[in-house]
Amino acid sequence: MQTRDVLAWRASVAGSGVMGEPAARGRFGEYGGRYVPESLAEACREVDEAFRGAWADPGFRGALTRLLAVHVGRPTPLTPAWRLSGELGVQLYLKREDLTHTGSHKINNALGQALLATRMGRRRLIAETGAGMHGVATATAAALLGLEATVFMGERDMERQSLNVFRMRLLGAEVVPVTSGSRTLKDATSEAMRHWVGTTDDSHYCVGSVVGPDPYPWMVREFQRVIGEEARVQCAAELVTGVPDHVVACVGGGSNAAGTFAGFVDTPARFVGVEAAGGAGASGGRLGVLHGFRSLFLQDDEGQIIEADSIAAGLDYPGVGPEHAHLRDLGRARYVTVTDDEVLGATARLARTEGILPALESAHALAWVIRAAGSGELPAGSTVLLTLSGRGDKDVSTLKELL
């Protein structure tokens, strides 16, 4: 018996360049992989096989595209932020994922995976959620396709995002409070994985970002690619330069950023991923393995994972998707951080100048643009594409307390 056969796992794939398919064994450079308990190895292989089949099947692609059009409202617009641009001295364009059905980019991925789950004959979706947007998106996709949904959410996040908890339950999902550890996204993810170990026969784990064991980082990026591809075409029509000078997105696990970057990877556009100062896996993490993948994680001197801490529950994750760690190493993207205060300022500013209330997560990207325009890091007249990953309705009670 040849080892290669036993471990057959895209061994023949060389990796198709930057932001292509991952290399053999699910690698993006030295990151990625499939560090799962043996009990999940077969389940990951099945998801991989099913996704490859589906993604190569025009029938599946067509069905997903139609659902994204008639249910989600795609394509989302590209909005020139005229007044704010005038104030900042740069030309800022917003890719409006906040206008999707359910209010964030998470629905692109949740619907893709829900459709895949039906193709695999699964009857239930499992998800983790931080801000609740992925939970809401999963609950929505499940309702639409007649699946059950079980969503794991840290107790602390359930308090911070109680409206989304109510929304998920209204949509028919079961929301399970997670009381271990920091009671946020990291612990919800651990609990979802534990739960999946016991339910692989009938449940699909619908991971919410470009994290987790192979094939998830790749698959989720492919489902989010629609953001970047639409924006690419819209920029070509709208911008004098055709391609923006800078492409900016917030990074929790990194799915809205990865989907956006993927549309511009073959252009000279500079990529900037903006992390929360308290959850900066790409900017401040070191090599590690958690939740099935090898990447950069916030850790203490003993190798224990540090709890992230951000005003935006969706960015409260101590690691970053493996492809971002790789893009950072390559120098293809850079990762910066902004503070909670800058984020609150940016949120209010967008609301007042453009009439758009962004999610606190998305406001991270904006906060960096505001800072960089002020410091000259973004030269006057630069064109900037910013993915506005979600709308701020879920954050109104937090904002009410803090502003």
């Binding site: 043996e38 190895a41 534990r194 393995v289 003993e302 190798g303 994972i305």
Partner: protein, 270 residues
């Protein structure tokens, strides 16, 4: 693949030699687990385990995110970390322990192995007198980067097999595992359960078709009856959550010694 990998006898380390010798002498093996650093004088539990007739001891190095552990071992892990337990201190405690006459097997998540690098980690285990290692989130297909390093340091890396592991992969696990094969009895996390899962019997049978390394069955074995039943199919059992629940409830080394003695008797009766 090298020839030595297929010739099990040539590369048996001390864990495997000891377990095999006992098994071949007709003994069913008992490997209790303790979370390292759970109490200030936690190594007293190890002495109690040895006195109760353990054949090996699994020492958990607590990790902040134990994704394959159920509520009991999560709680034990949190308690140990809250007391300030670190890998370094746990290994220092073990180094001071007199030889118990049975092998010590460390278990932890891969992040802690990677932290100072696999070489440094394995060397530190060795210095502390640990001879075996279990890394539940390092499955067969990712084990390459640790197997060679561990072997070079004299650490036997035991691989886990699960009820859903398909056939050719299972045989490969049997071939590449060192010390013993850790059979995960059910599709679930660690934790006590009312019955021994049917999947346990079937998995042990399948593993044994491909290897004659000792097969230890773990996850959910908590009573003498379950141990006896498990001993009919596997070469022995791993008992973790049932031990740690007692420790968390305040049981001291003598209580654990009495509890493990009941499991020992059950295994010996078979």
């Amino acid at each position: 693949m090298t020839n030595s990998l297929s010739n099990a006898a040539l590369d048996q380390g001390s864990v495997e030699r000891q377990l095999r010798a006992r098994r071949d002498g007709g003994r069913r093996l008992l490997m209790p687990y303790v979370t390292g650093g759970i109490t200030p004088d936690w190594t007293a539990y190890l002495r109690a385990f040895a006195a109760a007739g353990a054949d090996a001891i699994e020492v958990g190095l607590p990790f902040s995110d134990p994704t394959l552990d159920g509520a009991t071992i999560q709680e034990a892990t949190d308690a140990a970390l809250a007391r300030g337990a670190t890998t370094r201190q746990i290994l220092a405690d073990l180094a001071e322990l007199p030889d118990l006459g049975i092998p010590l097997v460390a278990s932890t998540y891969y992040n802690l192995v990677l932290h100072d690098g696999p070489e440094a980690f394995c060397a530190a285990l060795r210095r502390a007198g640990v001879a075996g290692l279990i890394v539940p989130d390092l499955p067969l297909h990712e084990a390459d980067e640790l197997t060679g390093v561990a072997a070079a340091a004299g650490i036997e890396l035991a691989l886990l097999a699960s009820p859903t592991t398909p056939e050719p992969r299972l045989a490969e696990i049997g071939r590449r595992s060192r010390g013993f094969v850790y059979a995960v009895s059910i599709m679930g996390t660690t934790g006590e359960r009312a019955d021994l899962a049917a999947s346990a019997t079937e998995l042990t049978r399948r593993i044994k078709l491909g290897t004659d390394r000792p097969v230890l069955l773990g996850f959910g074995i908590s009573t003498p009856e379950q141990a006896r039943e498990a001993g009919r199919h596997a070469d022995g059992v791993v008992v973790g959550a049932a031990v740690m629940r007692r420790v968390l409830d305040g049981a001291g080394p003598d209580d654990l010694r009495a509890f493990l003695a009941t499991l020992r008797r059950a295994l010996d009766q078979e």
